[in-house]
Amino acid sequence: MSSFLAFTLFGLFSGAAYAIAASGLVLTYSTTRVFNIAHGALGMVMSFVFWDFSVRQGMPLWLALFLVLFVVAPGVGWFIQRFVTRGLGEGPVSVSLVVTVGLLVGCIGLATQIWPPEPRSVQPFFPGSDVELFGIFVTAHQIITIALSGVVAVGLYVLLNRTRIGTAMRASVDNPELLKLFGGKPEQVAALSWAVGTSLAALAGVLLVSTVGLDYYALTLLVINAYAAAMLGRLKSLPLTFLGAMSLGLITSYASGYLPTDGLLNSVRNVVPALFLFVVIVAMPQAQLRIGQVKGIVSAPQPSLFRALGWGGALLLGVAFLATAFGESKLLLLGTAATYAMVMLSLVLLTGYGGHVSLAQLTFAGVGALAYVKLEQANLVGLALSALIAAGVGALVALPVIRLTGLYLALSTLAFGVIMEKMVFQAEFAFGFNGTLGAERLSVLGVTIGSTAAYVWVMALFFVLMGLALLWLRRGTLGRMLIALRDSPAACGTLGLDARWFRVGLFGLSAGMAGLAGALYAGLRGSVGAAEFQYFNSLPLLLLAVVFGVTSVTGAALGGVGLMLLPVFQSSNPSAAGLIFAVIGFGAVALGRDPNGLANQLFKLGRLLDRRFGTKVRARIPVLPAPGEAQRRMHAEAEANAGAEPSLTSVGLHADGSVDVPLIADPSREVGAHAAPRG
């Protein structure tokens, strides 16, 4: 009985801390429509700051607490709202997700860089002053935490319902534009809610740190608990959020107390919050299609098939050359790069074309690898089956959230990643905890590709084939539908497209591509384990894909190489290990608004060079396509990229590739553009 009480008490304690974190999340989301995935990461950084102030610099506890909660955290929150997330709420959800994931990874990198790993501990408040209550010991820290959650609840209620700015906050949830018309200042409201929200994340972090430990990841991922709680209140209702947090705290506590310590149920203990999140999301009611959509997104140019084939061939030649020059260890790295590049191709399909975000793409690769190993069919049939299994799993993940919007789909992939890793990958029937499984090299038509060099080349071949298939798909009917669905789901619905099944198919196809990459990777390494498909690594993968350009095959190739180089660079510069993550994270924060990424800058450079020197070069080498060919191709590119550049047919394209500015282009269009709306 007393153990039950003890578990209840612990559940209430952690529930109270989750409630504080979750209410901050709800506050920022509901006022600015930006779901801050980095909420927990901010709490983590703030806990480190608190440790730095109180332990390292030896400030009095109250001063450190005051500085963190009322100076540093609100300042950081204000800064983030002002310079990072401002205006993201009106944009596509994929962009705000990528930016806040960037923030998360950046925070972890920053914390690792400033406070390198070493044992640290933070004492609970008033250590030693325990009280005995109904036969169990209650620490002062626990009582303070539970009381503070009450204070936060009351404080938020008063703020939102009894103050002027609180009324403005609630108004800005409904319509920031209208609020502006009535003299409110949505920007001020947003800044305040981010300041308060970050402060609450800091408070939750500081309260939990004595139990959880000062750890970069544990505190960051505690945010999953906060998400789960906030989801129960559908990211709107604070009372329901508190209820969700308390129930989650209790369930987690009872699970750790009463679940058996072996077998499958043992692993459930680690994934209770993720399961809770999954269940809550699945149980949410149907989302309404949003009308009044964001307008088209400028996509990277689509190369002509001719050009794509050329580049693919060049890539294969390059890899063949490298494969002969490299030793075994470098070859393995090259193969790893090819794997990442293929996984990023799956993101080009899902995120770049489809506008959806998956936070578990590496998990799907893991499913493919596991299937390949378990099938023991090291041939093309086994490879295809592995990809199919991964595709099926991907479709299954998308199926329950089929009715919901992109944000929930992304969050449920995060929960899925956690569940898969803890319950499946680490289980005895799969890779096992810290274990590995042997895999055979792929054989094609009975010939085993034994040499690593040849195997890596085959992987590059798969990348090229997948890239070509993707470009072909994008140019065709399905590609147009994908873009249409991304631009306006409501219009697609009224035109007769069942967006839900289309989305499941898209998700499955993307997961299948990642699974194929994973299966090939298993064959490359010869042995694979759960550690290679950690769900957390899906986040830097997503970020690098976006930074290098998630709308183009080129971006995927570059991103794959970049992600492969990360650990190489880290091991050669251990002192800058955190810095690299910080750079990637904050780089994604800076570049996340443009999904075309660095690859598009390359394309622009290429076009610039072509404009400068193209004609001369072509004149000297008659084999190269004539200017007419270039014009046709540029036309196709402009069609996809005409955000800034108007269409070339009506504007006029010169042989050297320069474009007339359409000031005097088409009189009828001038009339149309200036016809004042009326009626």
Binding site: I291, R480, T494, G672
Partner: protein, 291 residues
């Protein structure tokens, strides 16, 4: 039986009743207008009919069957098409591809996967020609003027050959000549046997083109009839002007005492003519409207 019947539909958002027991119909081969002051619930009605908004109560019947709980895309398959007041063109696609994708969707995803060939470019271009935007075929849809984008949405609907066209303020953004052409196009489309239901603020267009008009105010239908009948209806004039000229023993007095002339709900100009408050056809566009 009319092609479309809206039967005592109620839509509530929290405590606000946007549509209140609305009943009206649209018949095949006819252009039906749905007018009313701002906030009368016209667009909400469209959302209910097309399936984007679930009504709190009431039923929608289309083509002899109840469709109230049929999802959006199935209603479209049964022959409904709509355009949006706030544009929903596929901004990243060219104008031609906007229509092409609609035609592809109409043929079904499976047809597209089987690669039965993309929709014929000729058919798509003919549609663009028909609504008069062929000159924009290669432009990106988010770079064209508003009026053109509305016509594009119409062309996109027509790719699915719908029996019922729901047009939400289709003429805003068009100039006078374009509006006239648009009126002719609507008559043609109706003559092909389609039912057209149109929310519109341009009274010239509404009065000149519609066979029947339903007037919505505070979510309820307050009048239905031919343009002539609606124009003379006291309730309509009251809804638009804030007072009905019929009970004007001393109109100026009534107007100034209870409903000041600068009432915010006034969409139509106050004319001195006693019997015809709505302007005669051809009097030029009206100010105001949903902007």
């Amino acid at each position: 039986m009319p092609l479309l019947e809206v039967d005592h539909v109620v839509v509530q958002f929290g405590g606000v009743t946007a549509v209140n027991e609305a009943c009206f119909a649209a018949e095949a081969g006819r252009v039906t207008g749905l007018i009313g002051p701002n906030g009368a619930g016209k667009t909400t009605c469209f959302n209910v009919i097309s399936g984007l908004q679930k009504p709190t109560r009431g039923a929608v019947r289309f083509d002899g069957r109840k469709v109230t709980s049929v999802p959006v895309h199935r209603r479209s398959k049964r022959g409904m098409g709509r355009t949006f007041q706030r544009l929903e063109a596929f901004g990243s696609l060219s104008v031609r591809d906007n229509v092409r994708v609609a035609a592809d969707i109409h043929r079904g995803v499976l047809g597209a996967v089987r690669g039965l060939g993309s929709s014929s470019r000729g058919g798509v271009d003919a549609l663009l020609e028909r609504v008069g935007i062929a000159a924009y075929a290669d432009e990106r849809a988010d770079s064209i003027p508003t009026g053109t984008a509305r016509l594009l949405e119409l062309a996109r609907c027509l790719a699915g050959d719908p029996k019922l066209l729901l047009l939400d303020e289709p003429s805003s953004g068009l100039d006078e000549t374009e509006t006239d052409d648009f009126g002719d196009l609507l008559r043609d489309l109706a003559a092909e046997g389609r039912a057209i239901l149109m929310v519109e603020h341009d009274m010239d267009l509404v009065m000149g083109v519609c066979d029947e008009i339903h007037v919505l105010d505070f979510g309820s239908v307050i009048a239905s009839g031919t343009p002539q009948e609606v124009r003379g209806d006291a309730a309509v004039q009251k809804a638009y002007l804030g007072y009905a000229p019929e009970d004007e023993a001393e109109p100026a007095h009534v107007g100034s005492a209870e409903h000041p002339a600068e009432s915010t709900r006034t969409d139509l100009p106050v004319l001195s003519d006693d019997t015809t408050v709505l302007p005669p056809v051809g009097a030029g566009p009206l100010p105001g409207g949903a902007r």
